[in-house]
């Protein structure tokens, strides 16, 4: 499996080295890797540690601290339901339930078929359009049960 491994490593290295901004740190490298892979491959931790001259523990400390990092590949689609107070007052909990029921889940996480990852976001930043949800990082405001169904159906098609 050397070939697979080398490709993985090449992608990690290029994600780290292609960062456009002058200040490169452990955190910025991890963010770049996550953008490339959608998660942090455990092997990438070693690479960041070597390049930033810190210990593997230091890198793990940062990676496990920020809640956006995950360590296993996410589903093909990412569905986020905003959970902030504004959305809460306007019915976010019932949307969460609608999504959970449609996906057959009881909390955050990935569907067994790996198609959808469900996340609760603490604020998607479009509070005036509450309740808000996002599918693959595209925002959908004034969400209703009908919109949820339509959105989830559209994600089923192109798996």
């Amino acid at each position: 499996m050397v070939e697979v491994a080398e490709t993985l490593r090449a992608r990690v290295v290029s994600a780290i080295t292609a960062q456009p901004q002058p200040t490169v740190t452990v955190l910025s490298s991890l963010l770049a890797i996550e953008e490339e892979f959608g998660y942090i491959p455990p092997q990438a931790i070693d690479e960041v540690a070597t390049r930033e001259s810190v210990t593997v523990n230091d890198v793990w400390a940062v990676a496990t601290f920020y809640t956006n990092f995950r360590f296993t590949p996410p589903g093909r689609h990412i569905v986020e339901v905003c959970w902030g107070p504004t959305c809460h007052l306007l019915g976010a909990q019932s949307l969460v339930e609608r999504v959970q029921n449609a996906l057959g889940m009881s909390g955050e996480g990935d569907t067994p078929d790996g198609n959808v990852t469900l996340k609760y976001n603490t604020c998607l930043g479009a509070c005036a359009q509450a309740p808000v949800m996002a599918a693959d990082h595209h925002l959908h405001g004034r969400a209703t049960n009908e919109k949820v169904d339509k959105l989830l159906n559209s994600l089923k098609g192109d798996s």
Binding site: T23, N121, C127
Partner: protein, 583 residues
Amino acid sequence: MAETFEAIQATAQAREDALNGGLRIRVGVALCGEAAGAFEVLEALKSEVASRRLTASVQEVGCIGLCYAEPLVDVQLSNGTRVFYKNVTPEDLPAILDAAASGSHSPSDKVLGTLGDAGAPGLPKIEDTPQWKCQVRIATRNTGTVDPGEIQEYIATGGYTGLAKALSSMTQEELIEEVKTSGLRGRGGAAFPTGMKWGFLQGSNRPNKYVLVNCEEGDPGAYNDKGLVESDPHTVVEGTIIAGYATGANYGYIFIRHGHVGPTKRAQNAIKQAYEQGLLGQNILGSDFSFDMEVAFTGDSYVAGEETALMEAIEGKRSMPRARPPFPAQSGMWGNPSNINNVKTISYVPEIVRQGGEWFSEIGYERSKGTAILCLTGDVNYPGMYEVPFGLTLGQVVNEIAGGTASGKDVKLLQTGGPLGGVLGADSLEIMLDYEGMSAAGAILGSGGIIVGADDICAVDLARTLVAFCQFESCGKCFPCRLGMTHLVEVLERIAANKGRPDDLDLMRSTGKTMAMGSLCGHGQLGFNPISSALKFFEEDFRVHLEEGRCPTGSCDGAFNRPTRTRPMATAEWYAKEEYVTP
């Protein structure tokens, strides 16, 4: 070769005149526009314009603040008047373009109003609506009207004249004095006088000094920092350069949460364009002042917005607050003196320099000078981002600007200043909107988010959400905050489920006291605010839960899902499977 500022301005003006000569259509595509479907409208508009072979410039603009009317499309008539269409869908576009081609407007039920002195016959002016009338737009003067992706357009509206004035005719001391005269105070929540803060950094003669602009903005209910950076990034960049000049700093960072694509893209582009125009880099505009800037990112962490935690994040570490002293102005990023300002604070600076501190200090109320940029959301008719002068009452803001509750029910509570700000009762509508008035009432203006709840909301329900947020976002450094929040949310969930114990209120109060005493930053110190304020105004709701075993409004019933910090880890098999071989 650096051009003179006059030459840059002339080029920008020529571009603007050329655009104004043709048909000009703008679409608001900030976060709230995106959520309302603005990108679908933009795409449809572009293809419709192309298929009709219209010679029109279609521009993306930011958020004008009238978020209730998104997606907004505006068409500029030949006399300069801009006709705004509200809640536009792709199906509305043919009629709008038909009308635009003949220089008129249509259909009238889709018209929100017009902007511009000339107006258009038969159409209302946006200036006359309650949502606009109360506003004094200083920091938001360009949002939604100027293309955030084009520095020329910003320069043509008077942009960078503040910087040119500062560099050509003002010393560091004069500049700081001007900001002190203006009475500008920090808009991030602490309301510390900005001029004085700059003075601390200016006083240091170390070679590397930083100016940090905080756009982390994790507060749910507030999106004005992101709104400003996304809609008018050039104002933020200009303000940062001026702050750098005034304090003698040589490097600036705009600090944004990773994943907010719009604000990130706009800020990076604005910095790039400023370099191209010679407004950043070595010897800016021919002066001996040099300044560099970049955008720095944090991962998802609310506490990263705290000033010392922010520096930790830029350094690439966990965003946990540091103990103070030393203060950032003595030893900040990488041990160098640093100054941290909120995006909103920085956004006032170019206009203060251009028009003078005296001018700014005449706006506002007593010790709260200038304006507040509010995000009115929740159960209201006209949610949006509004810049209003200090001195209005919360009642004016909620009832006149936001138009009262959308559900038609009575206002029961206001949630101001982010989750740590706590809640206010309906009688707080009398409170004057200024720093002193708000803090006398036990509330925080904070980042400017005001969430309105009607009387179908139980205070226990809202407190549970706020505390669950604080628990999720505690960085974990101080155990009273880390464990206290967890404890509080458990007790609140118990009360909400009508399984509360008689001494639960006392238990929460004592936990809150420990948190306030034993935490380094505001997250733990103010973490009990949501509960203490809910108890102050709505103890009855808690009593009904505890003694009668029911929710007074029913909003606590049903499942309560909250995010968790745990994530699945890679297994040992994973390591074995794709372990790469080092050469």
